[in-house]
């Protein structure tokens, strides 16, 4: 009985030691998961997921901290692709987060723009051009339709129009 206990305990300790050793010795691989998750997102930087950009959200997903259904512009398609990539279950898109869509672009109403310059620095992709006291304009080809500028306009002169319209 005693021998048995000793043998088992010794075996367990020995295996523990080996595992601790290998854990120390194995080189840590570069975690490319976040990068790959990011490439599955639409990358329009709308921040509607609650993270300050697509990369931080991708990192949160990769770390298992965030749900995969928080990307409104990506839609169900993105959820499905993320689920497949990560081996997670497909969940319904969280529609409460926002309505950003890649099919729309922002347009500044030139009659109402007061040239306050508040929308210029907040645009994540620098698609708004203009200096203080002049009318601003959106470069439609660069605009991602992320809706961030809408909240910053004091005169509410930005609206979203369909892309290519």
């Amino acid at each position: 009985m005693l021998i048995g206990t000793v043998v088992l305990a010794g075996l367990a300790l020995g295996l523990c030691a080996v595992l601790v050793l290998t854990d120390r010795l194995l080189p840590a691989g570069r975690d490319r998961v976040a990068e790959q998750v990011e490439s599955l997102l639409p990358r329009i930087q709308c921040a509607q997921c609650g993270y300050p950009g697509c990369r931080p959200y991708a990192e949160a997903i990769a770390a298992g901290e965030a749900d995969i259904n928080r990307c409104p512009p990506g839609g169900e398609d993105t959820v499905r692709r993320l689920a497949e990539f990560l081996g997670r279950e497909v969940v319904a898109l969280d529609t409460t987060l926002g309505s950003a869509s890649m099919n729309r672009v922002a347009r500044i109403d030139e009659h109402n723009c007061i040239g306050c310059n508040r929308c210029v620095p907040v645009c994540p992709v620098d698609a708004v051009v203009g200096v203080q006291q002049t009318i601003h304009a959106v470069i439609a080809a660069h605009c991602t339709g992320c809706e961030i500028c809408l909240a910053h306009c004091p005169v509410d002169c930005i609206d979203l129009i369909p892309r290519d319209a």
Partner: protein, 193 residues
């Protein structure tokens, strides 16, 4: 050498652990949804199978038999398998984080894969040499990987097929596995071990 090859063929095809001996069925069904995942799983299980069969053989011969405590075999083997699984987990986590994410739950589950324990126990009862035991483990791993990949490929295709509603999902997978099992019965008598 010829005998060792026979051991491998015997373990991989004739006495295939999954389809003939019906061991390790949970990962067989659980991890065969996609081919990539199945290949990863096959690799991980193969690693555990081979290392566990080697180490448990050594433990059996150098520890349990000299100290005359063979009645602890089951416990000791489970301990060894647990460690081997942990080792595999470490390796996938560090060397391929992506695979680790895909396999996720299934790596710890290898510990409860009866095929692994089965190989270790069969090795000690069959009185093989160390080399033969390692080859037996490797053969079991090859056989497991083979049928897992086969089933995954079949299931990927079945997804696209007109399967009657009551048979969709796991049901058709079980039926497919059953037919595969029948096919593997064709190897019976091929090699006598």
């Amino acid at each position: 050498m010829a005998e060792l090859m026979l051991v491998i063929i015997g373990a991989a095809l004739v006495n295939n652990f999954v389809l003939v001996q019906f061991l390790g069925l949970c990962p067989f069904i659980g991890a065969s949804r996609r081919l990539e995942g199945a290949l990863g799983m096959a690799l991980a299980t193969g690693l555990v199978l081979t290392t566990a069969s080697g180490i448990s053989y050594l433990v059996d011969r150098l520890l349990l038999i000299p100290f005359d405590v063979e009645y602890l075999r089951l416990l000791a083997f489970i301990l060894v398998i647990g460690a081997a699984v942990q080792l595999t987990e470490q390796m996938t986590r560090k060397l391929s984080p992506l695979l680790h994410r895909v396999l996720g739950l299934y790596i710890p589950l290898i510990a409860s894969n009866c095929a692994v324990l089965g190989v270790a126990l069969l090795n000690s009862t069959a009185n093989r040499s160390l080399i033969a035991a390692l080859f037996y483990g490797a053969g079991a791993a090859i056989g497991f990987g083979l049928v897992l990949a086969l089933l995954a490929g079949l299931r990927e295709r079945a997804e696209f097929a007109d399967v009657p509603k009551p048979f969709q999902g796991h049901a058709i997978a079980f039926i497919t596995a059953g037919i595969m099992s029948l096919a593997f019965l064709g190897f019976t008598g091929f090699v006598r071990l």
